[in-house]
Symmetry: C2
Subunit: 450 residues, 2 copies
């Protein structure tokens, strides 16, 4: 949500209050539906309904498409079933399906009954696909001609359907049973003789998206092939819809938010959420997991009670060791998670990837270990203690790098989202094993100097 100017919001409210429809429409005319949507979200509920009515069904539908999920839901509650149905008729099928999916079941059925049968069927089909797949983000609208059509037929189709299909770029060519055969850029239609058969001018080697493909993979296809729109096909290669670059931009925003928030054990629904209770609920499981792990950690330290009592100074460095290992482990995990998301890792060579992390940890561990050694020798004037901490640090960070890089790769193989790898499991096991290593070394060290 961008924040609209306060002046604009006040202006629109005033015009609605005084019922000056013409002035209002003149004021809103130069604005994009997304900008009107922002204003709509800021005004009072009764004003919202009034504004939508003033806008007329077509523009109101465009504005509704741009509204964020949460505001959209509450707005739909303010409208009658007939109003919602006529707005849905004006929307692209994918936006309409998104909106319908957010209605409560009863209202959903009532509204679906009010729709013309072809719109109903289209929305029904789209609702059948998983939300995060190609089917869930595609629209059914597309320009398609038969293999036997001519360039002139294709131009005719573009002329008659252009207003229904926003941003159309290609005319697709399909066989009699709907199998995708090729595509022609609309721009290229202008360059050919109207009498030529479309099969002569179409591009045959086109990239298509299977309807079940995960939306993240679809985004990678777009990024790879630099397309503005890709056709979607079912398991029999029949053309059933298309996905456009603007949908992919939204998917990428969503997936990036999902990855980033998962790294700290919450979810992307939290972005922009205002209720502290709902935010707390989404963050708690991770925190509780972490806390229980740290309790186990405390139990382990308590087992080492004797050496701790003997030399309290060793305790000062516990947070340092586990903090540094934690930093190193998350660096490895985050980079591997991102590389997996971008398909930058060759799955045949996972060992090579883990080995690289170990090399990095060795280099960085040696640098940090040397630094720590110097600090301790200067501060505590104790070379033995410095060596103990230097060796402990090196062991602990090697272990952390191994965990940080291998866990995401293992999760990926198990088809679990690797972004959860930086969660409590890896960080707590780093803490526990790290501490166990340190205290073991410390015990050996103490027995040596005594």
């Amino acid at each position: 949500m961008d924040t609209p100017q306060r002046d604009d919001v006040r202006r629109v409210s005033d015009l609605l209050d005084s019922g000056r429809k013409d002035d209002l429409l003149e004021f809103l005319h130069p604005l994009h539906p997304a900008d009107i949507a922002d204003i709509l979200q800021e005004i009072a509920d009764d004003h919202k309904v009034k504004l939508l009515k003033f806008l007329g069904t077509e523009l109101a539908a465009d504005v509704l498409t741009e509204i964020d999920e949460k505001s959209g839901e509450s707005l739909l509650q303010l409208l009658t079933d007939h109003e919602v149905a006529s707005l849905l008729e004006e929307m692209k099928s994918d936006d309409a399906a998104d909106l319908v999916s957010r209605l409560d079941p009863e209202k959903k059925d009532r509204i679906k009954a009010l729709l013309p049968s072809d719109d109903r069927a289209r929305i029904h089909d789209l609702l059948g696909f998983e939300e995060d797949t190609a089917g869930g983000i595609m629209e059914s609208e597309k320009l398609a001609v038969s293999e036997r059509a001519t360039v002139q037929d294709a131009i005719q189709l573009v002329r008659t359907q252009a207003d229904e299909i926003e941003n159309a770029q290609n005319v697709y060519v399909v066989s009699e049973d709907g199998v995708l055969r090729g595509a022609i850029r609309i721009l290229n239609l202008l360059l050919h003789d109207p009498g030529e058969p479309v099969t002569e001018v179409m591009e045959r080697n086109i990239v298509s998206v299977p309807v079940t493909m995960d939306q993240e993979e679809v985004a990678i296809l777009f990024s790879r092939y630099d397309e503005f729109a890709l056709p979607v096909v079912d398991t029999h290669d029949r053309l059933i819809g298309r996905i456009t670059a603007d949908d992919i931009i939204d998917v990428m925003e969503e997936e990036a938010s999902e990855d980033i928030t998962k790294l700290v054990g919450t979810d992307e629904d939290e972005i922009g959420e205002r209720s502290p209770v709902r935010i707390s609920r989404s963050r708690l499981p991770w925190l509780i997991g972490g806390l229980l792990g740290e309790v186990l950690n405390a139990v382990i330290i308590s087992r080492y009670e004797v050496p701790i009592r003997t030399i309290v100074v060793l305790v000062f460095f516990i947070p340092l060791l586990i903090g540094t290992a934690g930093n190193m482990g998350s660096q490895a995990a985050v980079v591997v998670v991102r590389e997996l998301a971008l398909k930058e890792i060759d799955i045949r060579h996972t060992w090579r990837r883990i080995l690289r992390e170990l090399q990095v940890a060795l280099i960085n561990g040696l640098v940090l270990g040397a630094l720590l050694f110097a600090v301790i020798v200067i501060w505590q004037r104790d070379i033995g203690l410095g060596a103990l901490l230097c060796v402990s640090l090196l062991t602990v960070v090697l272990f952390a790098a191994f965990m940080g890089s291998s866990v995401p790769l293992i999760l990926h193989r198990l088809k679990v989202d690797p972004a959860i790898a930086t969660g409590p499991f890896v960080s707590v096991s780093n803490d526990i094993i790290g501490l166990a290593i340190y205290l073991t070394y410390a015990t050996i060290y103490l027995s040596m100097i005594q």
Copy 2:
């Protein structure tokens, strides 16, 4: 980089060895340039040069555009200046400028001298813009007609320039001094009478991008207005280029990698990097910062030596307290950072945003505190100790949430990238202040029970 089939790589190598150019081209014909680029990256250096020659300048230029940065650089070293220059001529201006910017200065000058003067000027102009701005990602190629043109003139322009401008979607209308006046979808040209003036059929309220706008802001414009291409204008509103959705998809991939990797103190160049030394170097500053902070932490603990000696059990819980506070602080920081990136935070209400984090921390702190209290009472059978830890945890997490949410907001105001906020500064200050709070409470507690 997607990994091509090993068989394909072997096949191409064999065909290159035996010099069977026709068979090779037939084999590569159905492949997309991006797929050929993947194969190219896997074959031997002398094969690479041979393959590019076989492909012909036009296809070779497309393939070169798809190659990743690092491989592209080394490949350019294998080609003569004349070869590079003729490849550049075939490329879109933005891709050509990217490539030129990666050449060493001397080679750059030699190659620029070989280019036709208009290509040279175009590349020169593009190189003048900051890499991460609209100017840095735009291409100069665009379809533009004068305000006095007719629909027929615009169609004629599309016909003659279509092969130079990939994925053109709009014809832009400009005034005599180049100021952007409006745009017409190519598709709409088909719907109008050829004799009509373009000013009658063009859309006037179009979104344009100032050339200096940050690329992340441009991505938000695309996501907001659902466009496939946006015109770029200079400070005098003159049309100087356009940005297409496929470039934005690449920008979003890059920005998401940048945000995610910055969270752990490394950078996005590391994604896919193979040299452990280079990886180590990009991660070290953050690690050293963290380590030095933790040394300070150890110094602080050492000041509290007396109570620690008195009751060793309190020490067991140090990692628990700072670990939990760390988790909570990063949750707050990551969500705020992401909300800032998506412009979901109203900058006028930063206090409200911080307050919300404090409410969340209060709820989660109470839940975790109660849990910890129960664990300690059961395990250590000491209600006083349980209460001490419960109160300490609550104070520490409130502080962590405050730091985690306020630091990104402050950095944002100071125009520093808030993604660095989860770095050593916040985590180490959480550790230090958290520990100071705990040890202070512990000292008071010990003086009370003695």
